[in-house]
């Protein structure tokens, strides 16, 4: 931990970014959202998800347009460029509040779910605290670790959802969809209101991730995001179709966790039963990703507003705030319904759509563009010693390209043995170190180090080490 504690500028690929966006969206839309939509649009609620697809695309295009103008800056930083330092910081403070509330709400959702369905005897504060410890550790490890976790959970999540839907196909009843469009097209349009609130407007967290995407991944980003929107719309629509087809509208609109309840219907000849825990596993994974990303955006935004060199010291203090906040943020079921189906959409639309749109208009009108590096200043650059050096992200990409080139040269003659996959991820090592048992013992360190070297960390790492040395000598 100490070795990597100042590193912030890890880079992720466009595919990883797209996958974490998908996981973030599934965290809300799989378990809670169909209930809110079905309460409004009834049996036509699957159409609401189709209608929300283009809105989703429009919102992401706003973020991408801003990112095209400020490719190496997060929302907080280009807000300061566009509307002035103090106004930009004031605007960012509203985002800190937004992310804090969102994190507390997501944590409350998971504790409600676990408390009601899986762990009824366990107190909520204990579930929240233990979940938050894991989340805090994930945020502490950085965006690269989060993205890799997302890749793993993405695959497993899709497989489990597919299996669950296949197993439910024998329970499907097409009569549950009748009458189709009984109240006209206005009903599904109105049903898309909660979808705009969560997750679409909450995608604003993505503005903290966009500057961390590699330069090689930027051209593919637009295509990947389009693919994610299509997948997301398709998955949500299919899920809602199954919900209505299996459970019926009245039951979907009553159930607090409708997808989990739907999985209870699985019954293949009394042999395959009680597989709803699979849905719980997927949902815990997606909500974990959502919460990690919210806390990451929260800490990064705070650190950038305060002009800190790293966001990491803020992770644990924010965790201490989020846990009690999640306990008292909802008073009762009526309050939950009023917030989730009512005011939240409006509030998150202001934060996630209106403010970025205004900033985009200002950027277009003033013609401002800036490719300056602005994620976090490295300690060396803040000292002014290496101010002329290229920014850490560029160093990271250069090192990544170098290591990839070296790896491709190495892998061709050395393609025998299972250890090759680890070799591909690790930097070129001294010949003596490859065969010894020390390699396995130090595998965690060696897996950490290549990324650290390749993500622009060496300057800050070195800065940390030199700082620690000077700090110790001063002490």
């Amino acid at each position: 931990m100490g070795k990597t504690a100042g590193l912030n500028n890890s880079l992720i690929t466009s595919g990883q970014a797209a996958k974490i966006l998908f996981m973030f969206a599934m965290g809300s839309s799989t378990l809670i959202l169909p209930t809110a939509v079905a309460a409004i649009a009834k049996q036509d609620s699957w159409l609401s998800f189709l209608i929300a697809g283009p809105i989703n695309y429009f919102v992401l295009m706003i973020y991408l347009a801003l990112n095209d103008r400020f490719p190496r800056m997060s929302f907080t930083q280009y807000a300061q460029k566009l509307i002035g330092v103090w106004a930009g910081k004031a605007l960012s403070l509203t985002y800190i509040f937004f992310y804090l509330i969102l994190s507390a709400l997501v944590l409350r959702n998971i504790s409600d779910f676990l408390g009601l369905s899986v762990l009824p005897q366990t107190p909520g504060w204990f579930i929240n605290s233990t979940f938050m410890i894991v989340v805090g550790y994930g945020v502490f490890l950085g965006i690269e670790t989060i993205a890799r976790t997302g890749e793993i959970l993405f695959t497993w999540g899709l497989i489990i959802i597919f299996v669950v839907l296949v197993l439910l196909s024998n329970q499907f009843n097409f009569h549950n969809f009748e009458p189709i469009l009984y109240q006209g097209l206005m009903s599904p349009i109105k049903g898309s209101y909660p979808i705009i609130g969560f997750p679409i407007a909450e995608f604003v967290f993505f503005t903290s991730i966009l500057p961390l995407i590699t330069k090689q991944g930027k051209p593919k980003l637009r295509k990947d995001l389009k693919l994610v929107i299509v997948c997301l719309t398709f998955a949500s629509t299919v899920m809602t179709v199954f919900l209505i087809g299996v459970m019926g509208v009245s039951e979907v609109s009553r159930s607090p966790f409708s997808v989990y309840d739907m999985a209870k219907y699985i019954n293949i000849e009394e042999i395959v039963v009680r597989v709803e825990i699979l849905v719980a596993i997927v949902w815990i994974g997606t909500v974990f990703m959502k919460l990690v990303l919210c806390v990451y955006a929260l800490t990064v935004t705070t650190a950038q507003v305060l002009g800190l060199n790293t966001y990491r010291p803020l992770v644990m203090p924010y965790s201490v705030i989020i846990v009690p906040l999640s306990i008292f943020i909802y008073r009762n079921v009526a309050h939950t319904k009023e917030v989730a189906a009512g005011v939240w959409t409006l509030y998150s639309s202001v934060q996630g759509i209106l403010f970025p749109l205004i900033l985009l208009f200002i950027a277009v009108l003033t013609g401002k563009r800036d490719s300056e590096y602005g994620i976090f200043p490295s300690p060396e650059n803040t000292d002014g010693k290496n101010a002329k050096d290229s920014p850490p992200a560029e160093q990271a990409e250069a090192r990544k390209a170098e290591s990839e080139a070296e790896q491709s040269e190495r892998t061709e003659p050395e393609q025998s043995g299972e250890g090759q996959t680890e070799q591909e991820q690790s930097p070129p090592k001294p010949a003596g170190g490859q065969k010894s048992g020390q390699q396995s013992a130090a595998s965690s360190d060696s897996q950490q180090s290549p990324r650290d070297q390749s993500d622009g960390s060496p300057p800050s790492d070195m800065g940390d080490q030199s700082a620690s040395q000077t700090g110790q000598s001063e002490e």
Binding site: A5, G6, K190, L308, P313, V320, G342, Q472
Partner: protein, 79 residues
């Protein structure tokens, strides 16, 4: 009273950890802000344990958006 003491001990432990770790790296500014945020968290926990009336942030949001979202929800729920 026991959960309160446990929570305060936990926050004190986290505070000590941040204080020492960041002191080694000379991240004085980071340490200061981290301790400030931690203090807010500790006060929040203490307030909750002691049953003090802590304002709910969602109520503030609802009060701000009330003129807009009430008619909007009424229109949506009308069908």
């Amino acid at each position: 009273m026991l959960p309160l003491i446990a929570a305060m001990l936990m926050t004190a432990g986290i505070g000590a950890f941040i204080w020492i770790r960041n002191g080694i790296r000379k991240q004085y500014k980071e340490r200061g802000w981290a301790m400030f945020i931690l203090l807010i968290g500790a006060l929040l926990i203490a307030g909750m344990m002691l049953g003090l009336p802590i304002p709910n942030p969602l109520d503030m949001i609802m009060a701000i958006f009330k003129p807009v979202y009430k008619p909007l929800i009424a229109w949506i729920e009308k069908g």
